[in-house]
């Protein structure tokens, strides 16, 4: 697609390189073929051997490689050549993708855990001496010395290792939200403060061993959680990187070529189909278009842009195709805002973490319970109040409960990414398990149209090639599946011509100037609207499902299509039906064609000649009946439907506008991703429900013991950490047994209703 030599262009290079203070450059690359560990090592050795290379970091789950090197000694094209020569072709990522955050977070967690571990071991030995000293030979002053040593070694643990709990608790308090960090921070602070006071006084209990073990075990559980979350995130990143935003660049001879949006340089001419994403900042060269800049401004309102006005990268065209002249005002404009879908997919991961309302309620109850325990013991036996209250606070800390959803969901998203499904809204995945109706678009989604080229009928004596060339000039401007099929088929037969002043009317057709006259391509009603025949007089023979090409004097040619259901459509629908999901087709196409496809796929409920508004009405009717509806589509005309459905999925072979509204993106035109997503969603519900039951059960059993003062704080710390660990490990079961039988679906009829508890 793009050669490595193009990256010699400094303007392009500036988009992907990050200059470091030591004079080296840093780049993040997406590498496809990293299959086994040996390959990773070879690649690393080979790149390291290049002159000027300072550091190579290969992240296998994310399929990313980070290189720090001196560009004076090895140029960027040469670096990319070396990757290609090693059998792993690499594609540069935007420079703001060079993220150290993930690695830095891991390093930080590891260090905290180790310091906590080291300190905990030391404190434990000192504590032993104190315990032994109670019964044996250690005299009073030595015991006091060991208390001071315990204090000394706990200080780094509390002020370095446990700092993340304190900052987390402070953040939760600032946001006026009860989270899991608060009880932890409270417990650590209270126990430490009490122990310090007792050490200073020289009498009373000290709990340095308990607090250090608590922090260490908790950090261990958090580290595991972080690892599994990063792995899930990395798998998602790999998929996002593998599907870069593409642009159609006009070559000097007027033909279009597909390049990555990142490769666009200033001055390039770019063609954007209707419903497409603007790939770079630039000046509009078409007469006028409507764009939606919602992804940038958050305000979903169509905006009119006229010739000479600027289009902003990342906005989505609502009407007609557009021609754009790329201009890069600077390195960061345009490219930095691209990949809105990628950003949303990442947000889906971020938004889930810590947004759980149940957790806040849970924490509130734990704090209340702690206070009650303390008060109760103050009445009965004040000397044991502190012990019991701390034990309750630690035992009941809902860490396991709070970890459940984020850990399990991240695991699920990572697994789905491996099956080529990208999730942009984590809550939609949860809802997917509960759907009982699925609404499918036909053309482009369930079926792929193909132009029946021999059946093309010229109606006014032009040659077949001539009418094909005209139709193709119009069709190549549109992103409708029929237009795409026509353009694809015609491209093999005729030399392309270009259409001027093209306007696309949604769910109707395309109009434009070809060879000096205005032509219209579309359904008969649209194509003949400008002609001498009034709408009522259209020949019934012409008003069927074929596409009609017409000028202002009447019809020129008819194009026939035949449709093939997608290879996996039958199996996917069958599986959905078996799981009790009602199926429904809503298509803008003619009744007989929809009926034919519905019969082939064994669907009774179909609706033909549906405008976007009709589809929306259909959806609302279903929702009013209490159904939870999944909508699957691919075209711009499905966008309102996708936006309104409970769960929506779009094929990435469709338009960007549809993708912008969808919760799930099915890559590579594979419908069976839906089944996999649903299987994983069901599994997710199952595992979340199970983990939560565990966590609740553990708390219900442990809290009474703790409240009655039967659980020493150190035992509480162990129990609580183990329950967190259980949840993290349980999450790994999502997507685990998939490999055995992909068609089988989930094991047994799991009632999805049990979940939302």
């Amino acid at each position: 697609m793009n050669t490595t030599a193009a990256w010699a262009n400094p303007q392009l290079a500036a988009q992907v390189l990050r200059e470091r203070r030591d004079g080296c450059s840093e780049i993040a690359l997406h590498v496809d073929a990293l299959h086994d560990a040996r390959q990773v090592l070879w690649l690393e050795q080979r790149i390291n051997a290049l002159p000027g290379v300072k550091r190579v970091a290969i992240d296998r789950p994310a399929q990313r490689v980070r290189v720090v090197w001196q560009t004076q000694r090895t140029s960027l094209p040469m670096l990319l050549e070396s990757f290609a020569a090693a059998g792993c072709s690499a594609h540069p990522l935007r420079h703001d993708e060079i993220e150290d955050a993930r690695a830095a977070e891991m390093h930080d967690a590891l260090k905290r855990m180790l310091v906590a571990g080291m300190c905990a071991m030391q404190v434990m030995t000192y504590a032993f001496v104190i315990y032994i000293g109670v019964v044996d030979f250690v005299d009073f002053s030595t015991r006091n010395l060991f208390r001071w040593l315990g204090l000394l070694t706990t200080i780094p643990l509390v002020f370095y290792s446990a700092r993340s709990f304190f900052t987390g608790a402070a953040r939760e308090l600032r946001n006026r939200r009860l989270g899991i960090n608060l009880p932890v921070a409270l417990a650590v602070a209270l126990v430490f403060a009490a122990s310090v006071i007792n050490t200073l006084r020289g009498s009373g209990e000290v709990y340095f061993d308990s607090v250090s073990m608590f922090v260490f075990l908790l950090l261990g559980a958090r580290y595991l959680e972080l690892r599994s979350r990063h792995r899930g995130g990395a798998q998602g990143d790999a998929l996002i990187d593998a599907t870069p935003l593409l642009a159609q660049r006009r070559r000097a001879d007027g033909e279009l070529e597909t390049v990555a949006a990142l490769d666009l340089a200033g001055g390039d001419q770019v063609h954007i189909p209707d419903g497409g994403t603007v790939p770079a900042d630039g000046v509009l060269e078409s007469a006028s278009v409507q764009v939606d800049e919602a992804l940038l401004s958050g305000e979903s309102r169509p905006r009119q842009r006229r010739r000479g006005e600027r289009l902003i990268a990342g906005s989505v065209l609502l009407t007609g195709p557009a021609e754009l002249r790329v201009e890069h005002a600077g390195v960061d404009t345009g490219v930095a805002r691209l990949g809105a879908i990628a950003a949303r997919a990442r947000q889906a991961r971020a938004s889930i973490v810590g947004s759980d309302r149940d957790v806040a309620r849970f924490v509130g109850r734990v704090l209340l319970l702690t206070v009650l325990t303390a008060l109760g013991w103050l009445l009965v036996d004040p000397s044991r109040a502190f012990d019991a209250a701390i034990a309750v606070l630690v035992v009941a800390c809902p860490c396991a409960f709070a970890l459940t959803v984020p850990v399990t969901l991240t695991r699920a998203l990572g697994q789905l990414a491996r099956h080529h499904v990208l999730v942009t809204d984590g809550n939609a995945l949860l809802a997917l398990a509960r759907i009982d109706r699925a609404l499918f678009d036909k053309t482009g989604t369930l079926a792929v149209p193909r132009l029946d080229i021999d059946a093309t009928e010229p109606l006014r004596g032009d040659s077949r090639e001539q009418v094909l060339a005209w139709a193709m000039a119009l069709a190549s401007e549109s992103s409708h599946p029929l237009a795409r099929a026509l353009a694809a088929a015609a491209r093999r037969e005729v030399t392309p011509t270009r259409a001027q002043a093209v306007q696309v009317t949604m769910a109707a057709g395309i109009e434009g100037m070809v060879d000096g006259r205005t032509l219209r391509l579309g359904h008969a009603r649209f194509a003949l609207a400008a002609g001498p025949l009034a709408a009522g007089q259209i020949d019934a023979r012409l008003a069927d499902d074929a596409l009609l090409l017409a000028d202002d004097r009447g019809p020129l040619a008819r194009f026939h299509f035949h449709e093939q259901p997608r290879a996996d459509a039958g199996a996917t629908l069958e599986q959905l039906r078996r799981e009790g999901v009602g199926l429904c087709i809503a298509s803008g196409d003619a009744a007989d064609r929809v009926a034919a496809l519905a019969a082939r796929l064994d669907i009774d409920d179909w609706h033909a000649r549906q405008l976007p508004a009709d589809k929306l009405a259909l959806l609302h009717a279903l929702q009013a009946d209490g159904h939870i509806v999944l909508a699957v589509g691919d075209g711009s005309n499905d966008a309102p439907l996708l936006a309104a459905a409970d769960v929506s999925a779009a094929l990435t072979s469709g338009t960007d506008l549809a993708q912008a509204q969808a919760d799930l993106l099915l890559l590579d035109g594979r419908l069976d991703g839906l089944i996999q997503a649903r299987t994983i969603a069901l599994r997710l519900h199952e595992v979340v429900a199970q983990s939560r039951r565990w966590a609740l059960l553990y708390n219900l059993i442990a809290v009474p013991f703790a409240a009655f003062g039967l659980v020493p704080p150190w035992l509480a710390a162990i129990g609580m950490s183990l329950s967190s660990l259980g949840v993290v490990l349980n999450a790994l079961r999502v997507g685990r047994e998939r490999a055995c039988d992909p068609g089988r679906g989930h094991g047994g009829p799991t009632p999805a209703a049990q979940v939302s508890a």
Partner: protein
């Protein structure tokens, strides 16, 4: 028991050294990839230089 007054500072010193070493290792990415180095001893020779620069995987990959 006076030997404790020597031994305890020594253990503390050992901890400080161990933590320092560990921090150095973490900062130098020694813990970033825990999977690949395991197969390092199993590797024969590096893959032959492929002059065509084709994107097929290394031959040893089978």
């Amino acid at each position: 028991m006076n030997i404790l007054l020597v031994l305890i500072p020594v253990t503390l010193l050992v901890i400080v050294v161990a933590v320092a070493l560990f921090f150095w290792a973490v900062n130098h990415q020694q813990f970033d990839d825990l999977d690949s180095p395991a197969v390092l001893p199993l590797m024969d020779e590096p893959p032959p230089q492929d002059p065509a620069g084709k994107t097929d995987p290394p031959p040893q990959n089978t």
